[in-house]
C-alpha cells in the first residue's frame, strides 16, 4: 500500500474534503475542453464550460464561508453546483454531493468506509432523481463502480479512481437511454459519455487529496 492510500482505521477531516473539492475543481478546469468535445458529439456541447463554472463557484464559496465539517463542505458544494452549473449536470452533481454530505452528518472526522457509504447514498439519489440505472450511458456508469471499489477496498482511492475511469470508458459502446443523448438512439454508441467522464475526474481527485 502506497503512502497515498488511507489505512482502514484512517480518518478524513475537513481539510481533506477541501483538498478533494479543490483538486476536483482543478481537474474539471484542466479537462473542460475535452468534456465539451465529448458533449459536442452526443449532447449540447456545454458540459466542460458548465462544470468549470460550477466548480469555480464551489471553490469560491468554500473560501468565503469555510465549512466546519466534511458534511457541511459537501452540502455547500452541492448547493453551488445546483444553482451554478446549468443543464442537467447541476441538479445531478448537486444531489450527489448534498446527499453524501447529509449522510455524513456533522461528524468532524470520518472513516474511508463512511465516505464510501455516503457516496453510495449520493449515487443512489442521483439514480432516483434522473430515473437512470447502470448501463444507461450516464455518470452512474462511473460512480457506481467507484463506490463499489471504495467500499470493497476499505477506502482505496486508487482503486476507486481506476474503477471510475474503467466505467467511463465502458460507456463508449453503450446506447444512451437518458438525457439529450437518448434522442440519438443507436447513434449515441461509439462516444464516451461526458458525465461519466467528469465523474471519473472527480473520483480521481480523491487520491490527489490524500497525498
Amino acid at each position: 500500500m502506497s503512502s497515498s492510500e488511507p489505512a482502514v482505521d484512517d480518518v478524513l477531516d475537513t481539510p481533506f474534503f477541501l483538498r478533494w473539492l479543490t483538486a476536483a475543481a482543478a481537474s474539471v478546469s484542466r479537462e473542460a475542453a475535452r468534456l465539451t468535445d465529448l458533449d459536442a458529439a452526443i449532447g449540447d456541447a456545454d458540459h466542460g464550460t458548465n462544470m468549470q463554472r460550477g466548480f469555480a463557484a464551489v471553490t469560491e464559496a468554500l473560501e468565503k464561508e469555510p465549512p466546519g465539517s466534511p458534511g457541511a463542505a459537501l452540502i455547500l458544494a452541492g448547493r453551488q453546483l445546483i444553482s451554478k452549473v446549468g443543464g442537467a449536470s447541476g441538479p445531478l452533481y448537486g444531489t450527489l454531493l448534498r446527499r453524501a454530505g447529509k449522510a455524513l452528518g456533522d461528524a468532524e472526522r470520518i472513516t474511508p468506509q463512511q465516505l464510501a457509504d455516503a457516496l453510495r447514498a449520493g449515487a443512489d439519489a442521483v439514480a432516483q432523481l434522473g430515473g437512470a440505472a447502470a448501463g444507461d450511458k450516464t455518470m452512474l456508469d462511473a460512480l457506481f463502480p467507484a463506490v463499489e471499489a471504495l467500499g470493497a477496498g476499505a477506502g482505496s482511492f486508487a482503486a476507486a479512481g481506476e474503477a471510475a475511469e474503467k466505467g467511463a470508458l465502458a460507456t463508449v459502446p453503450m446506447t444512451a437511454r437518458k438525457g439529450r443523448a437518448s434522442y440519438l438512439g443507436e447513434r449515441s454508441a461509439g462516444h464516451q459519455d461526458p458525465g461519466a467522464t467528469s465523474s471519473a475526474l472527480i473520483i480521481a481527485a480523491l487520491a490527489e487529496a490524500a497525498r
Partner: protein, 138 residues
C-alpha cells in the same frame, strides 16, 4: 398573501429552456383563460439571457406567485425537470405546497391557469393539467 376574505389562488410557474417560449406560453395561457386571475410567472432560460434552466429564476418565480394556496410548476425538458425536482428535494427553496406537474407545457399551462383562476385547489389544478395528456390530436 391576498387580502383577508379573498380566496387564495394557486400560483403557476412555467419553466422552459427558452425565455421566449416560457413568456409566450404564459401569455397564451392567460389569454385563453379569459385573462384569468391566477398568478402566472415565466421562468425561461438563464439569468444572462441564454438558453438553459436556472434554479434561481425558478425559485424567484415560485416565490412571486405564491399566495399560500400552493404553486404548480410546469416544465419542458430534461434539466428543467431535474432542476425543479432538486429544488423540491432541498426542502426550503420553494414555497410550501409547490408541486412539479406531469403535463405537456402548452396544453398543461392553459388547463392549469384556467382551473387555478376558478379558485380550485392545487390538487385540482394538477389533475386538470395532467389530463391534457389524454387529449389526442390524431
Amino acid at each position: 398573501m391576498t387580502d383577508e376574505g379573498e380566496k387564495e389562488l394557486v400560483g403557476i410557474v412555467l419553466v422552459s429552456h427558452s425565455a421566449a417560449v416560457a413568456d409566450s406560453v404564459a401569455e397564451l395561457a392567460k389569454e385563453l383563460s379569459g385573462g384569468g386571475a391566477a398568478p402566472v410567472r415565466a421562468a425561461g432560460g438563464t439569468p444572462d439571457g441564454g438558453f438553459g434552466t436556472s434554479p434561481e429564476l425558478i425559485a424567484e418565480a415560485a416565490q412571486a406567485v405564491d399566495r399560500g394556496a400552493g404553486v404548480a410548476v410546469l416544465v419542458d425538458l430534461g434539466s428543467a425537470v431535474l432542476a425543479v425536482k432538486a429544488l423540491l428535494a432541498e426542502g426550503d427553496e420553494l414555497p410550501e405546497g409547490t408541486r412539479l406537474v406531469d403535463a405537456p407545457l402548452v396544453e398543461g399551462a392553459v388547463a392549469a391557469v384556467v382551473t387555478a383562476s376558478t379558485g380550485a385547489d392545487v390538487d385540482a389544478v394538477l389533475q386538470a393539467a395532467t389530463e391534457a395528456y389524454d387529449y389526442r390530436k390524431a
